[in-house]
Amino acid sequence: MAKIMELATAIRENVNDGDLLVMEGFTHLIPHAAAHEVIRQGYKDLTLSRMTPDLIYDQLIGMGRVKKMIFSYAGNPGVGLLLRFRDAVENQWPRALEIEEHSHAAMANAYEAGAAGLPCAVFRGYRGAGLTEVNPNIKSIECPFTGEKLAAVPALNADVTIIHAQRANKNGDVLLEGIIGVQKEAVLGAKRAVVTVEEIVDDFGDISPNAVVLPSWTINAVVVIAGGAHPSYAHGYYSRDNGFYKDWDRISRDRDVFLEWMDENVVKSGPQAFEVHVKKGPAK
């Protein structure tokens, strides 16, 4: 049963040094506020996994908290490269970063297999792709009916998954809407799950019977943080702050500018700082 609690408590109770930490979101609903709390609490030697690591993973990497990253596309969406990630891979600053690189299809299937309790994912992929030569976690398997050779990758099961969603009800059930990515799979495949939400409502009212709802008992902690996805967005609440994504290119380009920005906006800040972003009103 999910407990509704403060962010600092939720992170403290569920994240540990060395964890395989998943903070998913496919452009939409990226848990920025929660990631900042992870940074504030000082966890180290984390392994991060995400299909599309962007700003929050760049921030964790730049702060030296990450030992390894599992990913399939590490870019600043619509802007360019992830400069703290680059600096870690190219120059080992502030520390060396181990990487396990996959294709989107492989990672989506790996999360699916994790949620499905399987040891590996089987799919038709990686044919002629160079990653098969640099990633030992890409193997193959033969269909016992047709003999076709299929790709296999290990299932992805996080120690803790953190996601952001639109809302929870009082019981702690969580509703996600819009571009839902792999968040359901990341939560169901994880040992522990923390969900930040825009708001808590009495009940969800007249939603579709097939709406994407994670029952309370699949989640450990629910935390209300209005605006908690900014500069990502929450469908129905506020739009993506494209300007900030462009700014990040500048902020993250220089180590000192980055560290100063992090100190001011993350280390010395708190989740209440996100509220201001909701005031722009709902996404059209």
């Binding site: 496919f26 452009t27 939409h28 299909m51 599309t52 990913f71 399939s72 596309y73 590490a74 870019g75 969406p77 619509g78 802007v79 490269l81 992830l82 990630f85 680059r86 891979v89 190219e90 690189e101 294709s103 989107h104 299809a105 989506a108 299937n109 999360y111 699916e112 799919f123 038709r124 992929g125 990686y126 044919r127 002629g128 792709a129 160079g130 990653l131 640099v134 076709e148 050779k149 819009g178 571009i179 839902i180 990515g181 792999v182 359901k184 799979e185 967005y233 469908h235 739009s239 993506r240 702050d241 494209n242 300007g243 994504y245 996404a283």
Partner: protein, 256 residues
Amino acid sequence: MTGITLAEIMTVTAARALKNTDVCFVGIGLPSEACNLARLTHAPEITLIYESGTIGTKPNVLPLSIGDGELCETAVANVSVPEMFRYWLQGGRITVGFLSAAQLDRFGNINTTVIGDYHNPKTRLPGGGGAPEIATSCGEIFITLKHSKRAFVDQLDFFTSIGHGDGPGHRGRLGITTKGPTRLVTDLCVMLPNPDSCEFEVVSLHPGVTREQVIEATGWPLSFAKNVIETAAPTAIELDALRDLKQRTTEAHAAA
């Protein structure tokens, strides 16, 4: 119509390759621009799919990211990312995958992973994302990117996704049954794979572009088809639609 740029010719020419009945897996950037232009001109019923799970989307402005809210709001259906890659891409439902690249070789193989050595790269790029399976699961692949020696290379630094591999028969030997790259549109020319060698060769030059310009911007020994024609210039309708789209996009992204 005055002041037509080569970039505009590239987008219009790339858009023309798409049919009204296509189901197209759209890469962000140049492909997204071409695909939406096709939808706004000659292919109003084309189905555009972005890997964020949006199927049959009809954005009024170009998305900055692959998961912008408008893609979802205007879609026929929105599915999870595992479903997107299993049922829709791997399920063989996509007729055309539209990709761009950081590096491209003469066989349409693509690198978007690293410049330099993988384990000790000079430049770490974002990586392949959906490309490895887009390249093998879509019925055929269209590629669009701007011509330059840095991009059109003799040898890829990394083999992110396969085009025609090392030439004829390579895809088949890997068990791949789809066509692979069938068309390449740059800001200088249109290239198609030679049926015998699978190497991209120039079939049309954009208005005002010379063979020498293309050779100069290509990092491999370039071939030309027997009959190289001039790319048909954009029509007023196409150009208006493209400029309106880009204008709306600029305004929307500035306002956001």
